[in-house]
Symmetry: C2
Subunit: 336 residues, 2 copies
């Protein structure tokens, strides 16, 4: 077997079939994928469907706390979870640069398989393309996913209302700062790690407790919490008032951000969500989130008001107030 | 507005939002996409679901008869159709190289919109990433799709049985030879054009007439008809006997193939399918296919037997017989 990916692996011919058999089906074992059909066929599903897609182009492809493979699985699971959906299955589309080491691909596929197993969400259909050396950067991954939304769940950016409590599921900026420091080769104190993880268990726990009280959920990935809240403020025309001192940020993350002159509010997260909940159920939801491992550090960070319509206002640690705008003119490419 | 794509367009911040508003939502107008949520929410669907994904990396991105945008729409629609599904919606994941002309992107998005309108299948969710110059080649597109399969339809590579009639929906190799000659800058006689088109109307017409008689459908894309039939032969353990003289190939395509030393059997098609049908319904299905514009040149090209188990046997024009193997060792990269 080749030790590197060659163009022939993307031909659709014998080499493609060998790659599928020796690698993909070895790790991603499930009856749907084994059929090797043009499309997977799933049983009829009761309930509305959620459908989402994301491409992952993160650089570097291996980073402290994860790699592009598990990021791609968790990321799309989280996009489905943010609509209140229970993720059902994923597709996997790989674009590979000729010359990628087979061992590297195997490690990525193994991570994908592990992340799928952990989440209980299988890859049921896939596609692999190979482009000549220099026409891509190692590997890009698209995952799309289908989820099912139970009756009574209505979660979207438009549902947030005045007096909603804003709860964040944990510390901010871990993924973004980890990618940036590893890309720059910066040595920083402490143990920076991506927070990549699936959030659908946490979401289902919340919905089990208080489905009707959950109005909006978002995972602040690219653009960070600042951009996410700005979008919701713009969509609803309401004001998001948040408190800087209530927003959990790990000490080493804060230090690295200061070193690089970056604001944690705009850095990407890959395992955190922000939940807008009716005030009478906020404590119950907070407790439920904290009782789930991935939400242990959940905190109430603010509240929806009508003071500054369409704006996000941050009360700083020093007690001042500043407007939070969406990320602009500061490209941090290939963060996910 | 920028005349080129810049990294900031992929930041998830303000520039991303502007690109979505000024371009994607302008052309891809539908309520699902306008919500700009992490995932689209679809009404509950009666019936089994088909789910498929494909990434498109074709080079050149514009070619006679189409471009990467409509190819991406039609290709995934066809993958769904090949399972007998009625395509319901698509996702759209773009990976764009920094510096791509905005006009080029607009032309591609316009083609995507036109192809979606023609097919009646909307893009309901999407994602855009931008990578630095030299880290991708202009644009790569992933489309995933969901379809619904009506009761009584059971189409898969395993369903083909002895005596099935093999029907091809039109001429072979149009897409593959068009891409290869335009890439090489070859001047050839005649008017070579990609055959990119959706096949779901044709498929639904067949299923309306004779759902139970349709056993297997495949669109011979990468690897061509030779590889597709080899896979079905291997899956079923049956023999595919086909007749070279019955396989429609346009004159200029045949001439270009001879010029380049290529076998039309292994070149990609993007608007053709091969249908395995029970013999008693084969004429009805052939007529139905011919009555649909995209199947006007449909022809019976062979039959399933048990003469050479697991093999494809071609009776050549000169009357000889040769085994057709899956494509091997002849990479024709970035054909789709």
């Amino acid at each position: 077997m080749n030790t590197q990916i060659v163009l022939d692996h993307g031909s659709g011919g014998l080499a493609s079939q060998e790659l599928i058999g020796s690698l993909f089906l070895r790790y991603l074992t499930n009856p749907h994928l084994h059929q090797l059909e043009d499309a997977a066929v799933l049983d009829g599903q009761a309930g509305r469907l959620a459908f989402s897609t994301d491409s992952y182009v993160v650089d570097p492809i291996f980073f402290p706390g994860g790699n592009i493979g598990e990021l791609a699985v968790n990321g799309t699971i989280n996009d489905l979870a943010m609509r209140g959906a229970k993720p059902l299955c994923l597709s996997l589309g790989l674009i590979i640069e000729e010359g990628l080491a087979m061992d590297t691909l195997e490690e990525i596929v193994r991570s994908i398989a592990r992340a799928c197993d952990y989440a209980g969400v299988p890859v049921v259909t896939g596609d692999t393309k190979v482009v000549p050396r220099g026409k891509a950067d190692k590997i890009f991954i698209n995952t799309s996913g289908i989820g099912v939304i139970r009756d009574g769940v209505e979660v979207s950016a438009t549902q947030a209302v005045k007096d909603d409590v804003i709860i964040l599921s944990g510390t901010l900026a871990d993924h973004g700062i980890t990618i940036l420091t590893s890309r720059e080769g910066l040595q920083v104190d402490g143990n920076l790690q991506s927070d990549t993880r699936p959030l659908h268990f946490l979401v289902q726990n919340i919905l089990d407790q208080a489905a009707h009280a959950v109005h909006t959920m978002r995972d602040p990935t690219r653009g960070g919490l600042g951009t996410t809240l700005s979008e919701i403020a713009k969509t609803t025309g309401l004001c998001m008032e948040i408190e800087e001192k209530a927003i959990p940020v790990q000490g080493e993350v804060r230090a690295a951000c200061e070193l690089m002159g970056l604001d944690p509010l705009y850095l990407a997260n890959e395992g955190k969500c922000v939940v807008f909940a009716a005030p009478e159920k906020a404590e119950l939801i907070l407790e439920t989130m904290r009782a789930t491992p991935e939400g242990r550090e959940s905190a109430i960070i603010g509240r929806v008001t009508d003071v500054h319509p369409g704006r996000v206002v941050l009360t700083t640690i020093s007690g001042g107030a500043r407007l939070v705008e969406p990320l602009t003119g500061e490209p941090l490419p290939r963060i996910c």
